[in-house]
Symmetry: D2
Subunit: 342 residues, 4 copies
Amino acid sequence: MRKLGVGVLGVGEMGKRHAENIRRLVPEARLVAVADASADRARQVAAELEIENSYGSLEALLECKDLDAVLIATPDKFHAQAIGIAARSGKDILCEKPLALNIADARAALEAVSKAQVRLQIGFMRRYDPAYAAAMKRIEGGEIGTPVIFKSVGRDKDEPPLAAYQSNLNGMVFYNNTIHDFDLARWLMRDEVSEVHSYTTVAIRPEVARYSDIVAGVVNLQYRNGAIGNVESYVQAVYGYDVRTEIVGSKGSILIGSLRQAPTTFLTALGGVQTLADHFLTRFQDAYLAEVRDFVQNILHERPLRVSGDDGMRALAIAVAAEKSHLQKTAVKVTLEVGLPA
Amino acid sequence: MRKLGVGVLGVGEMGKRHAENIRRLVPEARLVAVADASADRARQVAAELEIENSYGSLEALLECKDLDAVLIATPDKFHAQAIGIAARSGKDILCEKPLALNIADARAALEAVSKAQVRLQIGFMRRYDPAYAAAMKRIEGGEIGTPVIFKSVGRDKDEPPLAAYQSNLNGMVFYNNTIHDFDLARWLMRDEVSEVHSYTTVAIRPEVARYSDIVAGVVNLQYRNGAIGNVESYVQAVYGYDVRTEIVGSKGSILIGSLRQAPTTFLTALGGVQTLADHFLTRFQDAYLAEVRDFVQNILHERPLRVSGDDGMRALAIAVAAEKSHLQKTAVKVTLEVGLPA
Amino acid sequence: MRKLGVGVLGVGEMGKRHAENIRRLVPEARLVAVADASADRARQVAAELEIENSYGSLEALLECKDLDAVLIATPDKFHAQAIGIAARSGKDILCEKPLALNIADARAALEAVSKAQVRLQIGFMRRYDPAYAAAMKRIEGGEIGTPVIFKSVGRDKDEPPLAAYQSNLNGMVFYNNTIHDFDLARWLMRDEVSEVHSYTTVAIRPEVARYSDIVAGVVNLQYRNGAIGNVESYVQAVYGYDVRTEIVGSKGSILIGSLRQAPTTFLTALGGVQTLADHFLTRFQDAYLAEVRDFVQNILHERPLRVSGDDGMRALAIAVAAEKSHLQKTAVKVTLEVGLPA
Amino acid sequence: MRKLGVGVLGVGEMGKRHAENIRRLVPEARLVAVADASADRARQVAAELEIENSYGSLEALLECKDLDAVLIATPDKFHAQAIGIAARSGKDILCEKPLALNIADARAALEAVSKAQVRLQIGFMRRYDPAYAAAMKRIEGGEIGTPVIFKSVGRDKDEPPLAAYQSNLNGMVFYNNTIHDFDLARWLMRDEVSEVHSYTTVAIRPEVARYSDIVAGVVNLQYRNGAIGNVESYVQAVYGYDVRTEIVGSKGSILIGSLRQAPTTFLTALGGVQTLADHFLTRFQDAYLAEVRDFVQNILHERPLRVSGDDGMRALAIAVAAEKSHLQKTAVKVTLEVGLPA
């Protein structure tokens, strides 16, 4: 059996998980190397995963023999550039979301991919989550009729450290987090978002305004075909990691999401108590694995990839419009002017 | 419209609720009087419900003009005798469970009813609860196939006061409480229980053993047609009033019961918290009302009553066998010898 | 005990329920009469409730001896005018929502109330629902910290008949239905809404556009103190009556709402199935009763009413702004210009 | 880092999963070989997992260089003998439940283990499930006070093929399945079961009686210290794989178990629908992995194993008593006579 040689660029929390999955759980792939701006970190992860090669740069990684594809899990800021470099080097690419932090960079990345005739998948892994996938199957089967309303909630548990804002390595929350919901908003509704209006707040942590970021935001959505929706983001929910989505249709609705971490309820005089989910790597453990497996198999068998660069671009365009709406405090059209490639 | 004249005997917590329902919520009935061993209590309830007549005894109540039927809600101990007296007086009867505390008394009561040709319904109100009624409809519709296992849980919230045991006015828990589950065990399974084996405990409150009562018990059930089951009772669950039933069949199962008092969940760093149900008058509010309405209408329209004296006798026979099993620490057959009338 | 003499104006589905509650379940009140534009309907309800007086107009009702207060449950269109008439007649008033269909009418009604020195409560009964009341208690107790996001969903089950739109007796959905959520949006957040932006759709039933109404709408909310939120309405959810609210705070969140009608789950090879709630009179049965009880007691004991005319005005102002936003397709400020009385 | 060399004996559905886990997800272990009575099957699994060695017998496996420990996942019937052989060969052992199908075999196996001074863990993996582990932590922390009632439900989805009964390779359901619950009954209650009474049925599939097996059974439990309980087993629940446990205490209770396979609810005019869990390898995926990881680490670091041979023996003794009760139709003491080693 031919195995796909994959290298992982960026082995922080997310990239390390990808590397582990590839190393251990994707029989059709071989983890040939890991790379990280911190060569030390790369070395440590390589040791832990018992592979030989680790590098301190993408360029070094690309020299690696037997490398067929690169999984990019660097901070958001470097995604687009890394895609360009990997593409020019002829490698297929699975890149974490977002595709880029602005439309120009995204366009450059997609052009490099197109020119090099390599393949690119964007890491919208929720599409692989069993609950989301089951929902999509029902939608495609016509079971909810015409979709009318889309709603999504994305809440992270703990207040991010100020250092995360200061480093400026990732985009503000719409790019780094809500972009998952923007992708779902297109994918599950099978329609494009034409306008957004963001209401945002920093009320309980005013200092994040200094970094043009927010504590919470609700982005109203208008779809081309008349459907409506909204997406909520909250970065310090305190009680847990809470991702929920609802698709409301003319014949029925689908609710996706669960608050509980484990199926245990504790009953006392104080009431019934459940322990709540608290981390995306736990909630979406299966999705991350299914994503990389699907990528590897589709590359090997030359089948189309499930999440395209265009998907990355379109979700990004919604994020760009949502940020603009947040800054200008008006509704903003999601149009080519905002950023879709001509 | 002719109205059924109803008198309520015993206006403690339960009887008062019945009186309120009849007074206010059953248009086809008229509450003609209330009676209670405490004439004071009867007077107070009559004042509150704005009716004229209150009495200190069943005999006085029976003298009351326009009295067609009597609802008996005295302590358990007096049920059978009150049925006899009311029957001989020609009144139709709705009597709270249990029918009696032993088979001989029950038989005497049923004989009086039969001789007087009055009608008697036993207060197994759970049959009127929307959730239980919906379950029964599915079972009768064949939706779960052949019933295989019956399970029921009945837990009260707060430790009963020792005075309740000392007064000896009600039967031990199998008669006073579990008898609801014994009735459901027959009704929902549409089969008769042929043998029981009780495992009981006083572990966390040994002093109730003095009154031959228990803190918790699980009664194993063997059905005539081969099905099996069990019924659990616990009188001091601390966390709430928890009644749940499950009917497991060859084609599907039905779960009945809910822990939540209100549809509210509170999410904090400690987890998700729900306030739990805590009282039978809240949980079964609709059932009590539906029960008395149905009784009144069936009497008025001379239709068969929904829960018969025989139902009362058969549930009692299971309770008698369960108590015997508890005392003898062996399995006990539910047979005519135990108490079904010849 | 002095009883409050109450007359009910409008005995359609809603008014009849109020009349029943007053007649049967509010000991401190006496239902002295019912009135309806259809004198026949009034007569029928009076007969059913076994009261003597029924009338074909408010004016006739107001002549009725022993009338202390009027409960107004006419179509929305007549609320404001009826308030004015009843007020000038010196009666205290409990009026169903909305206070009026426009600010001018609302202002006239409040002025009449103020001039006549009668008392007015608006029928935002959800504040009396045990689940909402429990949530408010936690919020007031500081348990969720600073409120950050408010969300509410209001879905009716069945497509309204076109006749309902044609008659033009009620306001469009924001006035007739969403106004409950607008009230909750103020009450639970203890803050005022300063701006709204409505995204609406008639996609699956274009003919309602002819009546300037919608099939579904999401109204984005901006609060004065920085919090944000949204309110969704959908008039033909097909699967049930679905009302849910969520208040997200700096220290915790509260979820209110339940889909299930009864605590029963049916398990078969097809999955787990629950019967869903389908009507507001069932879901909010307790709230309607608690509301009228509270009104009666506060009037009798000369205590402040729990939901004021000003509450009615402010919720109306949000509805007016939301409708304007829907028509103009822009964000709209909720200001005095929109309609709060100077 | 020294790695523990593990061989897996028996690579059917269960053993293959263990082999996969060891091969891929336990960094401290090395899968040195697999063996199976079907050498073909062993070869195929070895190929799939990309390891070199596969064998057709335990004896051959034991010859394998670098083998430190054996994981036994053969049919139940061969467990005890395989333990004996592996022990005499000086290997540490993780053996699937049950330890044996009778007390004599179990005793022989434990004696071999003891004599060879190897270590043995029994595969009661539910102890490693996050939900069960969290429950145990609360119990040990005294949060539910004194345990009073234990309840457990184990239902498999699909009717077993008759061939499974005919082959006689596994014990009847109490040995093969309910033994998990018997273990939990001891572990979570921290007490020993002193008596059982089984009510069993073959009602909906009489032909299994020919193999002395059952379709469903409820085993009543009496504990030494006075607590009570019961355990239900049903081998053809149709709707799903349903494992639930409840521990009821003097200060609170814990419910463990979930019916849903994924956090998705589908709402239509027919009601709310959830897809249900259907397989133990999905439900307990994390538990199986945690189990083998813990075993490997404890062996490597010479720490005590978490589930001992004695645990295996005691759960077996309950199963033996439950089967005897089933056959004799009486209560049966769980005593040394039944089978605990002197």
